[in-house]
Symmetry: C2
Subunit: 250 residues, 2 copies
């Protein structure tokens, strides 16, 4: 295996190189399988010693059928790869795919994260949306990016079914959507009881990061606010839990 | 500051030493504040250079009022402390408090985790329960322990308001509770729609780890099963999200 490939892989741990090359990493059998099915895979890297294991052999075959190059890595090469955790036998280099705003205009609501910086939280939100059949995900520019390896892993394959847009100017995007008839709905501490929420397909549901709440700049665009009523003393709900509860009401 | 204290602190990163000493670590202003209010704090360790900062000075005063010893650490000592992330200026050594089964018998339902190994998931479940005013938490022996530093941190202080029991034999505990009139309710893939759940205070809600589902051994004890209906292609919901949605229905 070419040393340049390992260098390239390790660079893709960083956002600036992911954006430069338009590629990101997917680790593990489950994620790579989903990527081969739903995304544009550039290359597979497989632990050469484990190539005959059933699951890995199946993925290698699937890649070869699509003329996707497969590289086999030796022991030393694997130890040079900076994977999220220990190298899980297989990884894929996958093309990033960002959508235009109009690609999110379809027969479904939109989940929008504002400044969600924890990769596990963003990944879990994307996975939960997929569970409820919601594919439209709009991310503010200051959210962790969806191609961060920890986000990718915690989406458990749901990333590849998401209809994703990373917005460079969220206020601008939301204004356009509002002009198009969308209702901007936010979860915060001072809204109506969430049980009163009436689901609508032309709605954008905002989830702000816990420490900041929903951005003040967006305030004027929000037409409805809901609260998940609590009975205890906890200061707040985790943003992914809050999003999950809202989505279960849609 | 005594070197033995640093050794002791670092040992408390490991479960076997936490159990041996009956103590665990709480890091950061928020957690230490909650510990001083709700738990038995043995000792505070404070970054000596930062002792005059408002928040830290307030906590030092609160500790001194309760005759809790406060140690000030110098630069070198701090770099010897293995905290979860960078040392956040303050940490507390706190006594572990495990409850008997009968301590969980009160006017509230019980949240029970079965084999939940991810610290972030367990911490988030405890925090979410606190949000909904549910303090009774029963953990199976193969769950991550609640005093793991990552669990402590992700409960965001809710740990100290929890009425917690780590069960050594969950099947035995659940049998006793069932004999006492409790209903064992599980979330799984083949139950009734969660919207049909009728909350009861004499219920124990089981949440299994994602890869195993609820333990087969417990099967015979479960009298009701519910499902969170999904419309998408995700294989499963994250266990903390599932627990959050169930708790929002209680």
């Amino acid at each position: 295996m070419n040393k340049a490939i390992i260098k390239h892989i390790n660079k893709l741990q960083q956002k600036k190189y992911r954006n430069e090359f338009g590629e990101f990493l997917v680790e593990g059998v489950k994620g790579v399988g989903e990527a081969l099915e739903h995304a544009e895979v550039q290359q597979l890297i497989v632990d050469g010693k484990r190539r005959d294991e059933d699951q890995l052999a199946g993925l290698i075959l699937a890649a070869q059928k699509k003329d996707i190059p497969v590289e086999f890595a030796g022991h030393n090469e694997i130890s040079d790869i900076k994977a999220t955790e220990t190298f899980s036998g297989i990884l894929a280099l996958v093309s990033m795919h960002d959508n235009d705003l109009e690609d999110l205009v379809n027969d479904m609501p939109i989940i929008c994260t504002v400044g969600v910086r924890d990769p596990g939280n963003l990944g879990t939100i994307i996975r939960t949306a997929d569970w409820f059949g919601i594919s439209n995900i709009l991310l503010s520019g200051d959210s962790v990016d969806a191609y961060n390896p920890k986000v990718v892993r915690s989406t458990m394959g749901s990333l590849f079914r998401a209809n994703l847009r990373e917005s460079e100017d969220l206020v601008y995007d939301l204004r356009l959507m509002k002009d198009d008839g969308y209702e901007i709905v936010a979860l915060d501490m001072k809204g109506d009881d969430i049980s009163k929420l009436e689901p609508s397909k032309k709605s954008i549901y905002l989830f702000g990061s816990e420490s900041h709440g929903v951005d003040k700049e967006l305030d004027s665009l929000i037409s409805k606010r809901y609260t998940i009523p609590g009975a205890g003393k906890a200061e707040s709900l985790n943003v992914a839990i809050a999003a999950g509860i809202v989505m279960s009401n849609l």
